[in-house]
Symmetry: C4
Subunit: 189 residues, 4 copies
Amino acid sequence: MKSGRLEAFSDGVLAIIITVMVLELEAPNETTLEAIIALLPIFISYLGSFIYVSIYWNHHHHIFQMIESVNYKILWANLHLLFWISLIPFTTSWIGENHIDTLPVALYGFVLIMIGISFRILKNCIVRHHGKKSRVGQLCRIKRKDMFFLSAYISGVMLTFFNTYGGVSCFIIVILFQIFELKQLHNTI
Amino acid sequence: MKSGRLEAFSDGVLAIIITVMVLELEAPNETTLEAIIALLPIFISYLGSFIYVSIYWNHHHHIFQMIESVNYKILWANLHLLFWISLIPFTTSWIGENHIDTLPVALYGFVLIMIGISFRILKNCIVRHHGKKSRVGQLCRIKRKDMFFLSAYISGVMLTFFNTYGGVSCFIIVILFQIFELKQLHNTI
Amino acid sequence: MKSGRLEAFSDGVLAIIITVMVLELEAPNETTLEAIIALLPIFISYLGSFIYVSIYWNHHHHIFQMIESVNYKILWANLHLLFWISLIPFTTSWIGENHIDTLPVALYGFVLIMIGISFRILKNCIVRHHGKKSRVGQLCRIKRKDMFFLSAYISGVMLTFFNTYGGVSCFIIVILFQIFELKQLHNTI
Amino acid sequence: MKSGRLEAFSDGVLAIIITVMVLELEAPNETTLEAIIALLPIFISYLGSFIYVSIYWNHHHHIFQMIESVNYKILWANLHLLFWISLIPFTTSWIGENHIDTLPVALYGFVLIMIGISFRILKNCIVRHHGKKSRVGQLCRIKRKDMFFLSAYISGVMLTFFNTYGGVSCFIIVILFQIFELKQLHNTI
């Protein structure tokens, strides 16, 4: 089965997820500077989530451009990944409306963990389909840094219950690492 | 007529339908655990409908990857199918907001029946266009299990009026069968 | 310039327009039969607009599958067409919420006229680009029935101010003719 | 890396942005002419933004049809551009709801500046990837008119604080120039 339609469908879903979040930015009724400043937390959480979804789109694109065929399991693993990413707008708006509170941040972190795990599952399905010795197989196999990311996310969620900003910082650090990882991945290809 | 644009349009519509449903998950104003638990019925009905639309996208993908040309009737049969699938977000949110009540579940079941029938019509159009002896013709011809699914859905709707949870269970069983059928279809190809 | 991206962008916009309309169908808070019956006018106007947008997607698809190259003017004529089609959800919901009243129906008719005119402009641009003697040129040149459709739409809008249902009937008749025309177009190809 | 998926994703995001704006046009509860006239400012700002996003889609399409490969930096520069374009619906609705007031117009102008700058960055990345001597390199290199557009936008934003309509006129002039530029670009290709 060719991978073209999986890519098209994923692009569609990700394009909607990334754009839907901007709908949270509702135009204020007043035209004062204060009205815009009041929207800043929503704007920042939109920006953060835009970057986050972009990283995953980018990563997804890098992997799927290396393969041409997919199977049943890859289709479902991809839908599973899209499901967790589709929860980003909800958690983003929950954070945005409540100016960084414990439970919304923890839930956001939980969704980040699930996205990480489901992307790991998708990569495993791809490795199994194309073989460990293929180019995509070597790039997608489990690496030490995956474990590091996962434990960093879990620590972030736990840290949130003691210090919300500590948890947020933890997530930002992992995201910066992921951008760096993406750059390395690009150079490898 | 090539099938490429039919697939692209269907992907677009299905991507929107699957994503629109997450908009029902509105961020609560409070940041308590109770506020999240209150959203659980909406979350579960979103999850169920995500799985359901995924099954149809998957099935649609399996069939259309086997054919390259479509005709007038297939275009309309596909639009007919998309129409009924587009009602899923509405019925999903009606169930989600009312914690599993008789009429919403019955309507949901009715939409499931109509989706089943319109998919059957689409398959018939494909069989007529490509011939019964073609590969896609053999896979898409009417089978006993189609009749079983249809009668199970209809029984589910009727059961709903006596016992709502009985109806829901009935639908879940058919959905599980459909996932299994999809796996078989994949193995056949 | 290849026509692929024009088709992809149009598919995206049309897929969103057709799906956005279903968002008007908001789930009622009650689970009674009356609550669903109260939604019937919105449902019917959704159904009508779904059919209408489907006709244009279908027609658009038929024409663009015959050509491979587009120019600057075709791009803009296509965007112009999409602009008018994008007003369908607005006029649909205005009718749906007001149970067929004069002004909403007249506005709906006005949008239908503008869609017809902008589609005519798009066809003219295609004919000029590909030549009157090309296959697409012969199919897209102005025909008597285009004038008939236009005058029927204009009569429909005027009739609306005397008798709303008369105007609606007028539009329905043209739409039925357009479906028939589409079938003929398909047979010609 | 092929450019196909970047184009598909951008088409998806732009299609949603352009369509989301029409959702601001909420159907009034009354069916009077006054109710429609009251929507005129929102309609005009929708029309303006539709044209503006169309120009960028068109320009984007013109450039990407000349290249077939993209790299890591182009992907991110493109996402950066999409981010700023995604703010258009928000600023449009802020203007539309407040009938042309200073701050909304200035913010709109600021977003236009950022879109211009991010498009310039995207073009620079493309020039660096494909070389200054390639066809796309010659068309995308910095030109005097880019500086003119930028200074016109900045003057427009500053003018807004003295005379709102002066600022708006300034933006409209630049947009007309951009349409003219696009036509020239098309003729060059």
